[in-house]
């Protein structure tokens, strides 16, 4: 079947697809937005697309796992730092007679 024939057939049987009432308005607003592209628009679009990525099941699962693991690791590091500080201060206090005298008097 050559192209002319296909074209004629398609013209004879137009598809009857019901369109939403807002279809034309949305199409025109997109055309307008495309024609007036600013940096702000681009950033907003990029932001929208990035957020859209998180909605995919695999990306969502990976994001949740990543944040949970990150929180766990940071919590562990924070605790290790606290322990280090605790013993550092305890050592400093143990060898400082002025601090020890004050501490024992306070008991």
């Amino acid at each position: 079947m050559n192209d002319d024939e296909l074209h004629r057939l398609l013209r004879q049987h137009p598809a009857q697809v019901p369109l939403a009432s807002s279809f034309d308005r949305e199409v025109w607003s997109r055309i307008e937005a495309e024609s007036t592209r600013t940096l702000g628009n681009l950033v907003a679009e990029l932001f929208e697309r990035t957020l859209g990525l998180f909605a995919r099941p695999l990306a969502a699962a990976m994001t949740l796992t990543l944040f949970a693991t990150g929180g766990l690791a940071l919590g562990w590091q924070w605790h290790r730092h606290d322990i280090e500080e605790h013993f550092a201060v305890a050592y400093q206090q143990a060898i400082n007679p002025l601090y020890r005298a004050g501490e024992e008097a306070g008991r």
Partner: protein
């Protein structure tokens, strides 16, 4: 987009929750497991070993020096307590705001504080002498501000200008 934002916010909340829960849980476990009394010197010395990556020989030497210093520290501590009690007693005695006795006791107290700082500095330098140059520099940088009672953030280079 809304779904994506919701997932991102949930992930953020989950991460924060994990951060604080881990810290709280570990702190709870550690306070039960480890001695916190300053009388128990083992954890403090273990910190020194771990933090400055001391060798066995260095650690043994430092432990000996630490044990030898403790009676001196105890004696000074006892003298400070007595001096504090005397200063407090004289300060609370009705009469002149600063009596001759109180003035003498305060002078004695500050002399004693100097003596304590000198003993502590001497001990710090003895400990540092058991370490290699890099360890000793780190140890002194950490301990000397504490011994002198000055902020570790005070920058000595600031006085050069």
């Amino acid at each position: 987009m809304k779904k994506g934002a919701l997932i991102l916010l949930t992930a953020l909340a989950l991460g924060l929750c994990m951060l604080f829960c881990t810290r709280l849980m570990l702190r709870h476990l550690d306070t039960r497991a480890m001695p916190t009394e300053h009388g128990s010197r083992l954890p403090e010395l273990s910190w020194l070993r771990h933090s400055f990556k001391l060798t066995d020989a260095q650690f043994e030497k430092i432990t000996r020096l630490h044990a030898a210093y403790l009676p001196t520290c105890e004696k000074l501590c006892e003298r400070v307590r007595e001096s504090d009690a005397r200063v407090l007693h004289l300060g609370l005695t009705p009469g002149e705001p600063v009596s001759t006795e109180l003035s003498a006791a305060l002078r004695e107290r500050s002399q004693l504080a100097t003596e304590c700082q000198e003993a502590l500095l001497k001990h710090i330098h003895e400990i540092a002498a058991c370490m290699d140059a890099q360890q000793a520099a780190l140890y002194r940088a950490r301990m000397i501000p504490h011994a002198l009672g000055v902020s570790c953030c005070a920058n000595p280079k600031a006085h050069e200008h």
